[in-house]
């Protein structure tokens, strides 16, 4: 299960922000931190990469979200499937 750390930049306007945060909170894959200024730190945990992409696209299209930045990815859980054989 890939786990990523994201920063969501929210559009200005308290009503828009509150609505966007509410919809984000409803997604079980997301763990939300504290909104600070216009930025919301988020942890994203998904089944696989396809779901990560799906959620990312959903975030980018969500009203009230101006931008999504990724700051970390832990691929340790999936790496064992991709490693070259040990020498």
């Amino acid at each position: 299960m890939p786990t990523s750390g994201l920063i969501i930049t929210l559009q200005p306007g308290s009503a828009t922000q509150a609505d966007a945060v509410g919809r984000l909170r409803a997604r079980p894959e997301l763990t939300l931190g504290e909104v600070s200024d216009r930025w919301l730190p988020v942890a994203l945990e998904t089944r696989d990469d396809a779901e990560s992409r799906e959620v990312y696209d959903w975030l980018m299209a969500l009203p009230g979200v101006a931008f999504v930045d990724v700051v970390s990815v832990n691929f340790e859980p999936t790496l064992s499937l991709q490693l070259h054989p040990s020498p």
């Binding site: 299960m1 786990t3 990523s4 750390g5 994201l6 920063i7 930049t9 200005p12 763990t31 931190g33 504290e34 600070s36 200024d37 216009r38 930025w39 919301l40 730190p41 988020v42 942890a43 994203l44 945990e45 990469d49 396809a50 990560s52 992409r53 101006a66 931008f67 930045d69 990724v70 700051v71 970390s72 990815v73 832990n74 691929f75 340790e76 859980p77 790496l79 991709q82 490693l83 070259h84 040990s86 020498p87």
Partner: protein, 805 residues
């Protein structure tokens, strides 16, 4: 995975994101990274990203000898904790299933495993048999020590200047643009300009997808409520266009006319900066043949040359409406705003790339939009060390380290002194530049093909050269030609290789890069390479040692010592050519400290190696202060920041071509492209990159997250052109030029949108080699090929008109 571990990873991810937010809001100290939790089990260290020239720093998490996690490094000024989609998957580039793990020699047409000793012997014997017919082809992905070692082996050891990097295909025209304008290479400004400009002009540069972290930096300013006007000047709509205030779509090659149109308006409206020009500028043009330094011209002659470039004339050439040309002219004429221009391959991979670069510098100088943060023309590079290695180390066929020239006797003598080799060791004749080198390699020896052995390191010419049938594939059937390839994965280049050497990559070795903004970066080896893969730098030194043992005189210095002699802290010589001992000494540190001696001549001063160990890169010139501290430079030639500028001068171009501390404003006319659409080939064909893949895709196509998102190449086509030919979106068609043909699926509604009469094909896909089709017309000065313009046609499959080319 058990629940506590999952919870832990989730908490770590949230903590990393929260730390970046805290830094952005000023709630946290920007000088400390979040402390790793002891329960993490992951060891973290810093490294620049392996991919593009932006130079983002990542935190690399290692567990059980493998890279398992990546974070944006919040201590890094370049990316401030952010990464792009490629960057946060960079760790997986190491773990493709088909990593090369043993040397391979072609025997009876098949690559067979051999020992390293046999591989080194094979190379050394080829070189000894014909040292002057040997060439090294490297890249802007060489680390600084790797490029320095290869350069020293060739120029200081073999007296052979046939060494050139793929940077010739990438930023050679930026180099000639800087050299012919300021007398010294590389930008005056830096990324800080993106934080200070009022207007950002993207000249043929899709920054949102090619340098996304830098673009994010600009967009972030907007979300803070700052006004930044984005102007996208391009030949196709991209994601960058979506964020832009103005999109100026021009006909290919006509950027030259647009640039002249701006200069015309500055002069006509009297809005040029007369004081700046008088104090700091001279004028130049090429009168007879194209040349680096051209001929002097007067201001009046310059003005007369620009007279025809009225907005209406420029509109006729470029297709950009006259009022948009006026908009640009008015913006450059304003003194109350700061303008930053950025460009990458749009200007550089251009048959008049040097002129495009010169003209862009020219409008900034003419208007005085230079010398303040936010007011600068700045080229971006595509590779992580195109600047650090190809340009600064001087791995090009006409350069010596630190901006010196092969053709200059004093420069050769000084280089020989630093290398401690006998006078006259360096050959005064320039080597073959990239296109010529490959042309000679692919030409039968009896017909003048004077290169018989090429050693490729850290690049993939079998995919990235233009006109591949002529410049690469013609090697087939030439039995006396021998291709050596150091690589990490099988590629289009290894397909024709006679000898393949498995290489370590990125954090499997020590390294140093130099990014687009003059920032030199360092990292340490963190994990072991797979199998018998070894460092490229070691490979160079090991071959040098073999040549030394075989008695090649060039591998000895003036004291008859081996050219690559290393000592440990105790002063004992370490046989670094023996892999068992390669890491007994820090070879990178030793080579870098030697190379540093070259850096002062062009005021590109580098700090000691250990300063880079502590930093997330430092921008040269890095000058030692009275306190002993090392200070980097953000803006060159400007008194407010550059300590080499004389007090009171304000601006000083201290490497001026005209030796009077002035820069050159060039005039260059609009000229048609070498090949333009006609009745038989009615489309323009442009090539480039996509967000998910880096260059030829050898690394990113091994990362499932990236290859899954963008699995194959395609051809972008305007929907009206497709409809006219009864071609449906997604249908496979044939794209043909005078050099080759390729079957590609059509994309009419993709993320990029070409205008009518244009096609765009990305070059990342090894199975769909668009460079079979490209012309590669070189710029006459830089010798950089044009990948952005040639004439093509499309054929609906099944139409019964297919002929093989």
């Amino acid at each position: 995975m058990n629940l506590p571990r999952r919870e832990f990873l989730r908490a770590s991810a949230l903590a990393a994101a929260s730390a970046v937010v805290a830094q952005r809001t000023g709630a946290a100290d920007a000088t400390t990274s979040p402390a790793p939790s002891p329960a993490d089990g992951i060891a973290w260290d810093k490294a620049p990203c392996r991919f593009c020239g932006t130079g983002c720093h990542v935190r690399v998490g290692v567990k059980d000898g493998k890279v398992v996690a990546i974070q944006g490094d919040q201590l890094a000024e370049v990316n401030k904790g952010l990464l792009c989609v490629k960057g946060y998957h960079v760790g997986l580039a190491l773990y493709g299933k088909d990593r090369l793990t043993t040397p391979l020699l072609r025997k009876n047409g098949k690559l067979e495993p051999i020992s390293w000793d046999e591989a080194l012997d094979t190379i050394a014997k080829r070189v000894m048999a014909a040292p002057d017919k040997f060439a090294i082809y490297g890249s802007g992905q060489w680390t600084i020590p790797e490029g320095y070692a290869a350069n020293k082996l060739m120029k200081g050891g073999l007296s052979n200047n046939h060494i050139d990097p793929n940077a010739r295909l990438c930023m050679a025209s930026a180099v000639t643009g800087y050299l012919s304008t300021y007398g010294v290479d590389e930008p005056a400004g830096c990324y800080d300009d993106l934080d200070a400009c009022d207007v950002l002009i993207l000249w043929g540069n899709n920054m949102a997808e090619m340098h996304p972290v830098l673009f994010s930096r600009v967009i972030d300013r907007r979300t803070r409520g700052q006004k930044v006007t984005l102007i996208d000047i391009g030949t196709r709509r991209t994601r960058t266009t979506e964020f832009s205030d103005h999109y100026l779509e021009f006909k290919p090659q006509s950027d030259l006319a647009i640039l002249n149109g701006i200069a015309h308006l500055l002069l006509k409206n009297g809005t040029y900066d007369a004081k700046f020009v008088e104090r700091f500028c001279n004028f130049r043009q090429d009168t007879a043949a194209a040349s680096l330094l051209g001929d002097a011209m007067t201001f009046d002659a310059y003005k007369a040359a620009l007279e025809p470039y009225t907005p209406e004339y420029v509109e006729k050439i470029s297709g950009v409406p006259a009022e948009k040309i006026r908009l640009l002219g008015e913006l450059f004429g304003r003194k109350d705003i700061r303008i930053t221009s950025v460009w990458c391959m749009g200007f550089n991979q251009h048959s008049r790339g040097t002129n495009a670069n010169r003209l862009c510098h020219g409008i900034h100088l003419l208007s005085g939009h230079f010398g303040k943060h936010g007011d600068a023309p700045t080229s971006l590079t595509g590779q992580p060390s195109a600047c650090g290695t190809a340009r600064e180390v001087g791995t090009m066929c006409h350069f010596l380290p630190g901006g010196r020239l092969i053709a200059n006797a004093e420069h050769r003598a000084e280089t020989e002194r630093i290398w401690n080799v006998p006078p006259g060791r360096i050959n005064p004749k320039m080597g073959h530049h990239t296109v010529l080198l490959w042309e000679k390699f692919c030409t039968p020896t009896a017909q003048g093909g004077d290169i018989s052995t090429v050693w490729v390191q850290v690049t993939n010419p079998g995919q990235s050269l233009p006109n591949l049938h002529k410049l690469f594939k013609a090697k087939r059937g030439l039995p006396d030609k021998f291709l050596i390839v150091s690589e990490v994965y099988p590629t289009a280049t290894t397909e024709l290789a006679d000898l393949v050497l498995p290489s370590a990559m990125w954090v499997e070795k020590n390294g140093m890069f130099g990014n687009s903004e003059r920032r030199t970066q360092q990292w340490f080896k963190m994990v072991n390479p797979p199998g018998e893969a070894r460092d490229d730098c070691w490979q160079t030194i090991a071959v040098a040692r073999k040549l030394f043992e075989l008695g090649h005189p060039g591998l000895k210095d003036k004291e008859d010592k081996f050219l690559f002699t290393f000592k440990n802290a105790a002063g004992t010589e370490v046989p670094a050519w023996d892999w068992k001992h390669y890491y007994d000494v820090n070879v990178d540190r030793a080579l870098f400290e030697e190379y540093r001696a070259f850096s002062r001549y062009k005021h590109k001063d580098l700090a000691p190696y250990d300063e880079y160990v502590k930093a997330r890169g430092l921008r040269w010139p890095v000058v030692q202060q009275a306190s002993g501290a090392w200070r980097e430079t953000k803006f060159r030639f400007a008194e407010f920041d550059d300590s080499y500028v004389k007090r009171g001068a304000g601006i000083q171009f201290y490497h001026s071509v005209t030796k009077d501390d002035k820069a050159l404003i060039w005039f260059a006319p609009y000229e048609k492209a070498a090949e333009e659409p006609d009745a038989d080939f009615p489309f323009w064909l442009c090539t480039g990159r996509v967000l998910e893949h880096w260059h030829t895709g050898t690394m990113t196509m091994r990362i499932p997250q990236l290859s899954g998102a963008m699995p194959h190449a395609y051809v972008e086509m305007h929907s009206a052109d497709a409809t006219e030919r009864s071609i449906a979106n997604g249908e496979t068609i044939l794209v043909r030029t005078r050099r080759g043909q390729l079957r590609l699926p059509v994309w009419t509604n993709g993320r990029g949108h070409v205008p009518r009469g244009s096609l765009f094909v990305p070059f990342f896909d090894q199975r769909l080699l668009v460079n079979d089709l490209t012309l590669g017309e070189p710029d006459p000065i830089s010798k950089e090929p044009d990948y952005k313009k040639c004439a093509a046609t499309v054929v609906k499959l099944g139409a019964g008109r297919l002929n093989s080319v």
